[in-house]
Symmetry: C2
Subunit: 162 residues, 2 copies
Amino acid sequence: MTDSASQIFVTTALKSWNVWTGRAAKLFDSLSDEQMQAEIAPGKNRPYYLLGHLVAVDDAMIPQLRLGEPDYTHLRAPFIDSPDKAVTDPIPVAELRQAWKIVHEKLNAHFEQLSPSEWLERHSTVSEEDFAKEPHRNRLAILMSRTGHVSYHIGQLMLLPK
Amino acid sequence: MTDSASQIFVTTALKSWNVWTGRAAKLFDSLSDEQMQAEIAPGKNRPYYLLGHLVAVDDAMIPQLRLGEPDYTHLRAPFIDSPDKAVTDPIPVAELRQAWKIVHEKLNAHFEQLSPSEWLERHSTVSEEDFAKEPHRNRLAILMSRTGHVSYHIGQLMLLPK
């Protein structure tokens, strides 16, 4: 396996991340602030909540990938620990749209810097001891998991009444 | 980059595939035949349709990955080309559940055989000429794309009224 082959593995995974986060960005951009408040189905989450949820979860990738400090820990309580409509909306939708951009620009800047071997280093929620036995618990696994998480919620957003 | 590192890339991607297809299998298994007929939200797809859709799409991976012939091409018209409820249900749900198992066992048996360098070979919907310029259009890209497709529809299935 050559260095260029290992770069292709990483590029393939990053392209998948870019496709799904790109679809999500386009979808949220296509919704008016009013549409962001409409439930995707009766009694289900609003796009506003899902946007906040994705910002909070993706922001948490920064420490999970051992790339630094997260910026939006204050969004975890309302958008991860709480279901939709359990608390008063904590942040205006315009700020949430901005936060999405900031989080993903920051992540993508980091991603461009990581070498293939750095992608295979452990993520922060596995101990060094466990990682020695389970080397697939690496940064790339976090990237793929979060890619799947984005596509999961896009599926739901696509149910929004046209 | 060593051979063992390249195997870790593949294992990481396969684990993601296994997580999401495993979640889907568990979810479909948890639904009664009656629940399979209930719309996930008013006017939206039934789990029955989504199961058929996932069988048809994942079965098509066999030729897309250049691993042989698909078994369920007759499910493409009702479950890919047609939206839900456009045609009479073409197959009993019990057979569809069986088809899911057959398709995924077959895929997983193939996946265990592929070496890391074989994963980086082109998929069938890109020409050799284009692949030379875009080496990320490989089998692994199909795997990741279909993993995202499964998670997308799981997100929708999770909206089913409890």
